[in-house]
Symmetry: C2
Subunit: 199 residues, 2 copies
């Protein structure tokens, strides 16, 4: 006996999600059967709406309901700074900090020779065009992750943008706030020492 | 800045699932944005169909697309045995074993005084009616989990059914196949010793 078809299909769909194997997918599917009808309907609607009502901002590449996005169309934001991030998610994380009032640019990836991702596969050309068009931009803050790919992408962008006379900065590396030196990895420690600041 | 509304709603829906907190839900929601449109549509359809196309079998209580379910309406199955399980999921698990050819009865829960679940809250009365109507039934196999609640439910059912002259059996407890005595817990070991069989 097989699972009833709707359940089999739902298990299959759950398995498409990252980090969810057959066992968890089965558990989630049976949980869904017991959920109340409104919750399941809302879930299905949210999925559909995610695909139908969201697009990428034609200026910065961020996920948005309106084009240009909320941030790009906000005149109170500091138009002289653009922060370059890997993913839309990173924009939300930065915004939670409430410390940064400039603009963003979402790359949708990083340079990765291993995965065969070159400069033309990520959202770089639109960044360059944006910098050529807006003379107001004085600083590009590169906020790619502190991974080898993130670093390589940062280096690549710096080389590309600096000649235009725009200041290029990178987020600082060092110890996490509240962390213990004992548990810091060597790379982080080395960055924390070389990037030490005067007190 | 908040997440765009479709994403916020989807995060909320993912958080309704068991074992998924805000961080995982956010990761899944952004993953969904990058999924291809057909996969997302299939996912949404599977969710809707799970609520719309499934019902509980009026005989055994199992989840099914047709009523009575595949198993209850199959004349080749052994009508003299009913296996009582806690959840529909357990029926599928038993069926995978391919060793059992009798019928099932799904309780949709167990007796649990702590959670305030009494006999009237689970699917017991329909089991009793079923036994009264079908004189063919010779054995009820109680396959509730080996938890305190599962055991209590088994005891309760045995007391209820035995007086009618129907044989009541319980799945055996003991060491898992392939397991190491060193790692077995004491309760399991004690059950394995008391339930030892002659070679």
């Amino acid at each position: 006996m097989q699972y009833p078809e709707p359940i089999a299909k739902l298990i299959d769909s759950y398995m498409h999600l990252p980090g969810i194997g057959r066992k968890t997918a089965t558990r989630l599917a049976f949980y869904t059967v017991d959920m109340n009808k409104t919750d399941v309907k809302n879930f299905a609607d949210a999925l559909t709406s995610t695909k139908n009502d969201l697009r990428f901002c034609s200026i910065c590449g961020n996920i948005t309901e309106t084009d240009p996005c909320e941030i790009c169309s906000d005149p109170t934001r500091d138009q002289s700074k653009i922060m370059v991030v890997e993913q839309s998610k990173d924009v939300m994380t930065m915004e939670k900090m409430k410390d940064y009032n400039g603009l963003y640019h979402v790359l949708h990836g990083v340079l990765s020779p291993i995965e065969g991702k070159g400069p033309e596969d990520i959202n770089i050309s639109s960044l360059i065009k944006r910098l050529q068009k807006n003379e107001e931009v004085k600083e590009v803050i590169i906020a790619t992750n502190a991974t080898p790919e993130g670093e390589a992408t940062a280096m690549y962008l710096a080389k590309l943008i600096k000649p235009a006379g725009i200041k290029v900065t990178r987020l600082s590396h060092g110890l996490s706030v509240g962390s213990d030196i004992e548990y810091a990895d060597e790379m982080t420690l080395s960055k924390a020492v070389s990037g030490r600041t005067e007190m």
